[in-house]
């Protein structure tokens, strides 16, 4: 009987991580930024109907990068999780942190147990008490990062993050934040990028009930002036 080859766990994890990273880097990036009235999400997304940004709950939004079918599944799972919790307890008991943790657990389990890891990186952002916001970046292996002011996923996220870190010191008015975000996304070899070609949504603290709102084409044309 032939013995199966021994492969060290370290090597397996390394291979899986490399595979996932490659898949994620191939796509385009999504940026989340705190602005004057909440959080703005900007995705470099040429498709009008296949969204990368979505509403999860009253004050929570989601963005995914990498393989569409995989982060779409995660998005739906998140909506189910949040709606169920809100129905079983109350709307205010649905928290960004608990959702981010649930994602982190799921992704971690899939990374260690499945042969193929998910090629995704996701952002869970939410409005907190008062003027605060929460932004969690969760990687394919379930590792979770608590980001402040800006967060970037997918594509050349590190380069964009480095660009934005220098530019953004605090929450700004929306048009200003959009301009900074656009510049950062364009800085990685896409100088012709326009606001109108992007998928943009906000979590606006001033809204009552559901805070998530997509910006329409007309608004984007106005804002890009």
């Amino acid at each position: 009987m032939a013995l199966p080859y021994y492969v060290s766990p370290e090597l397996i994890m390394q291979d899986k991580a490399e595979y996932a990273k490659k898949g994620i880097a191939r796509g385009r990036s999504t940026v989340a930024m705190e602005y004057e009235h909440g959080v703005v999400l900007m995705a470099d997304n040429p498709s009008v109907s296949l969204n990368k940004i979505s509403e999860i709950y009253d004050h929570i939004a989601f963005a995914g990068a990498g393989k569409y079918s995989e982060f779409e599944n995660l998005r739906k799972a998140g909506i189910r999780h949040a709606d169920m919790k809100g129905y079983l307890y109350s709307r205010e008991d649905v928290t960004t942190k608990s959702l981010a943790n649930a994602y982190s657990q799921s992704l971690g389990t899939i990374f260690s147990q499945e042969i193929k890891p998910l090629e995704v990186e996701i952002l869970v952002v939410g409005l907190g008490e008062g003027e605060t916001s929460e932004m969690y970046r969760i990687s394919f292996d379930g590792s979770i990062f608590d980001e402040k002011l800006v967060a970037v996923i997918g594509g050349r996220s590190e380069a964009i993050m480095a660009h934005l870190k220098q530019q953004v010191e605090g929450p700004r008015p929306l048009p200003d934040a959009l301009k900074k975000g656009l510049e950062a996304l364009a800085s990685v070899g896409q100088p012709e990028l326009r606001l109108q070609q992007m998928e943009i949504a906000v979590l606006d603290r001033r809204r009552s009930g559901r805070k998530f709102r997509r910006l329409s084409q007309a608004e984007l044309i106005d804002l890009s002036g």
């Binding site: 969204n51 799972a77 189910r80 999780h81 809100g86 129905y87 649930a102």
Partner: protein, 269 residues
């Protein structure tokens, strides 16, 4: 977190009954399991009941309204209960029957519509909403046999047809669209008779609100389980309009003059 590729539906109701069967509406209560006549059930008199609700179509929308009284047998158990609810930006529902299961159904239906909209990225059509509600009422049938009846009235603004639409239901989940108006609950018959007398097609919003208030006042005069306006306590019926402007609450200040006019008419007789 549900991360199950098998679970691909967009319905929250279906998700709830698969994940938490014990929480699904209509699950018969074990110790009284088996059909019994609603009137014979001790439950019917032991839990609060909400009563008269109505909906009237006018040019461009629907007025949906309900009184504020809840009763437990011959006792008044609530003077300020709400029977008319906004379910999403374009629809509202009113409920009559056992108050607890009614409110549960409202909350479940609100979650259902929001859940679908978020998963699919687009809201359900008015017909889709009305059908989903019918399935939920049908699911409640076992409870209805034990006396916990839920009878909703659904009003939605159809953006495609640019008009308001009314749907009524029976306890078995039968769904019927009404073209003009409908009233149900214990004082429903009296309210309906009142509306019938004055209704004409193409009412404007103001007239429809007046007619709704008058019908509820009539029902309160005839039916003990229906509460009329109570100016001393500042309690007035709940009235909402469903139109292109969305779901709008009609404030008590706007309802009070109709009640005064109603009393005036009575005095003149």
């Amino acid at each position: 977190m549900v991360f199950d590729p098998e679970q691909l539906g967009s319905s929250f109701y279906d998700l709830l009954i698969t994940q938490y069967p014990h929480l699904s509406p209509g699950r018969p209560i074990p110790w009284t399991a088996g059909p019994s006549h609603a009137d014979a059930s001790p439950l019917a008199a032991a839990v609060p009941h909400g009563t008269t609700i109505l909906a009237i179509r006018y040019a461009g929308g629907v007025v949906i309204a309900g009184d504020r009284r809840a009763t437990e047998g011959y006792q008044i158990s609530g003077r300020r209960i709400e029977k008319v609810y906004k379910v999403d930006d374009w629809s509202a529902m009113a409920i009559a029957g056992a108050a607890g299961p009614c409110l549960d159904m409202v909350r479940l239906f609100q979650t259902e519509l929001e859940h679908y909209e978020k998963l699919e990225g687009t809201p359900l059509s008015v017909d889709g909403k009305a059908n989903k509600l019918a399935q939920m009422v049908k699911g409640n049938l076992p409870s209805a046999f034990q006396g916990l009846i839920v009878i909703p009235l659904f009003a939605g603004y159809d953006a495609r047809q640019r008009e308001g639409r009314i749907f009524k239901y029976d306890i078995a989940g039968g769904r019927y669209e009404e073209t003009d108006y409908h009233a149900t609950g214990s004082g429903g018959k009296d309210a309906k008779t009142a509306i019938k007398q004055y209704y004409k097609s193409g009412l404007n919003e103001h007239e429809a609100i007046g007619l709704a208030v008058e019908a509820l006042c009539n029902a309160a005069e005839e039916d003990v389980a229906t509460g009329g306006p109570d100016p001393n306590r500042g309690i007035y019926p709940t009235v909402k309009t469903v139109s292109a402007a969305g779901i709008v609450d009609v404030p008590s200040e706007r309802i009070a003059p109709f009640y005064t006019a109603f009393l005036e008419k009575r005095r003149e007789r």
